[in-house]
């Protein structure tokens, strides 16, 4: 019987069985390998029993239609969670003026605690993650509402401090229930917290956190490389292999967005130079970062990282070409050149792909 310890391994095993069956059918059609009927029956029975065992222990997709339905359920779960979050916010705002301050405080603290308990309870009863994901989103929204409205009730001066518990709570829920969306939300909340605190320390208003892209650049780099040290300190059986791509996606998106920002607005840099050389520096750095991302992605076979690096490289290239040519070149010629460059990039990527095979 199968010895998989996690859902990811179980899904990979089920995918291998499906591929094996397809290949076996193809070999039989090509008359390369034709199993005797009793052999085929024994193989099928064994594979069916393995699949039944996997499906009994893990929430995995055995057929392609099941896989499509799972994606649909994931989308419905996220949208449903967001709708419930909106309902929680709007309901509280509808009634809070009609109740006393102590009642408001009790409701605000009890709501995330209750949602957290229900999430934990449901996750222990349900094998599928959809209801858990929906309820975890509601728990996070209730906690955001809790601290935000507490600030309004007691007229507390605005500060980035709340982003620290929000981020920690989201990451805790993400790790407990294997929820990638909450991990991304938690990482972004911590980025806002660190940027806000850094700005406050330098005498600026914390809400300008998005106006200092070098702070995101640094946060993004730390987030993108975080999976390696995290894995080192996490026991093998407790690692979540779905999370490393989320760290890389969030981290690299922060890096690329901040580079694109600094590319256009050198004035927002901490570097003590005129804005023009700073912009040129970040333009060169942006291309190097995108190329390096593709290279690392190929070396480590991280498909998502390669795609993100390629998308960033293409966007950077088009932005640069637009800055060089748009003003003086006839528009038809500009788009023709863009099209030709896209074809050139496709040829390069195809060559790279062939070398990887």
């Amino acid at each position: 019987m199968a010895k998989e310890s996690g859902k990811r391994e179980a899904q990979q095993h089920a995918d291998r069985i499906a591929a094996f069956r397809q290949e076996l059918d193809q070999l039989a059609r090509d008359q390369v390998l034709v199993l005797a009927p009793e052999q085929r029956t024994r193989v099928d029975a064994h594979l069916d029993s393995v699949l039944a065992d996997l499906a009994g222990r893990f929430d995995i997709d055995i057929s392609s239609s099941q896989r499509q339905l799972s994606w649909g359920m994931r989308i419905v779960s996220t949208l449903g969670g967001l709708a419930l979050c909106a309902a929680v916010f709007l309901f509280f705002y509808r009634i809070w003026g009609l109740i006393s301050t102590p009642s408001q405080v009790v409701i605000l603290i009890a709501a995330p605690l209750l949602a957290l308990a229900v999430t934990e309870f449901v996750s222990r009863r349900e094998r599928t993650p959809y209801f858990t994901a929906l309820l975890a989103l509601v728990a996070l929204a209730s906690f955001v509402l809790n601290l935000y409205v507490m600030g309004q009730i007691f007229n507390i001066a605005s500060s980035p401090k709340a982003f620290l518990p929000w981020g920690a709570f989201a990451i805790l829920l993400a790790y407990r229930h294997g929820l990638r969306l909450l991990l991304a939300a938690g990482l972004l909340a911590l980025t806002v917290y660190i940027s806000g605190i850094a700005l406050t320390a330098s005498g600026l208003w914390w809400e300008a956190f998005y106006s200092r892209p070098e702070l995101w650049l640094l946060s993004g780099l730390i987030i993108a490389v975080a999976p390696a040290p995290l894995d080192r300190f996490t026991p093998q059986d407790r690692r979540n292999h779905d999370f490393a791509p989320v760290y890389r996606l969030v981290g690299l998106l922060l890096v690329f967005v901040s580079l694109l920002w600094l590319w256009n607005s050198g004035e927002d840099s901490y570097l003590p130079f005129d804005h023009k050389p700073i912009e040129v520096f970040y333009q060169i750095l942006a291309f190097m970062a995108a190329a390096l991302t593709i290279w690392i992605g190929i070396r480590r076979t991280w498909t998502g990282t390669v795609n993100l690096g390629a998308a960033a490289f293409t966007i950077f290239l088009f932005v640069k070409l637009e800055q060089w040519w748009w003003e003086w070149m006839p528009k038809y010629l500009f788009f023709l050149l863009i099209g030709l460059i896209a074809i050139g990039l496709l040829l390069i990527f195809r060559k790279l792909r062939e070398e990887l095979l």
Binding site: G97, L116, A117, N155, F169, L172, S269
Partner: protein
């Protein structure tokens, strides 16, 4: 069955709330640091809506302030630094001394009447009966100098705020193009909105009102009483 994650999650929620409530308790315990009575001219009431039953008061103030380069520099605004005058980066947290119905309002009223002699009577009346009388008297990076100077004076209030810088090429005296200079004004008071809890929120908004405000050591306000003002 291990409930360790639940306990950890609950601890995050409770610790964050304890911190918030401890701060509130510290701000409101003992004698208020500052108290002031303001009318509907300075504290505009938000309308109760179907989707939001909460009631709050928005602090209305005149943020004009004309520091010289040295005072602007004390707040961290450098006349030559490009980065300090862009977007949100032009905002710096400061402490603001607000003056209510004092010489600055009288001066502003006189200036309005001098600059707009042909204004119709309704407009002139609104300057005297509807416009805010809360004016910026002084700004500093720390509260101590302002508290020393203003805290015990009637109708003065020291609060947190945001100073914003813009670049101007207009000479303030001749109104013609002049050399590049930094203009600094107070763009926001923090918190700018004051929540009214029950039973204070059951106020008849059809009539003028007076709100007694208190500020604690964290410069966070709360309404202590609300009563009918003169028509």
């Amino acid at each position: 069955m291990s409930w360790r994650t639940f306990v950890l999650g609950a601890a995050i929620i409770l610790v964050a709330n304890v911190f918030a409530l401890f701060g509130v308790q510290r701000n409101r315990s003992g004698e208020p640091r500052q108290s002031i009575s303001l009318t509907q001219r300075e504290l505009e009431l938000s309308n109760r809506r179907e989707e939001n039953s909460g009631i709050s008061l928005r602090l209305r103030f005149n943020g004009q302030w004309e520091p010289d380069d040295a005072r602007a520099g004390e707040l961290g605004f450098s006349p030559n630094e490009n980065a300090s005058i862009r977007g949100r980066l032009s905002q710096r947290p400061v402490f603001v001394a607000l003056e209510c119905n004092g010489p600055r309002y009288a001066e502003w009223l006189e200036k309005q009447e001098r600059q707009q002699p042909t204004a119709i009577e309704v407009v002139k009346q609104s300057w005297r009966t509807q416009f805010t009388r809360l004016f910026v008297a002084d700004v500093a990076r720390s509260p101590e100098p302002l508290l020393q100077k203003y805290a015990n004076r009637e109708n003065y209030l020291v609060v947190r705020g945001l100073a914003t810088a813009t670049v101007s090429y207009t000479d303030p005296v001749t109104f013609r193009r002049g050399p590049r200079r930094i203009e600094v004004f107070v763009s926001r008071i923090e918190p700018g909105s004051i929540h009214l809890p029950l039973p204070l929120s059951q106020l008849d908004t059809a009539h003028p009102y007076i709100v007694d405000l208190s500020y604690g050591p964290r410069f966070e306000p709360w309404a202590t009483a609300i009563r009918k003002g003169a028509e």
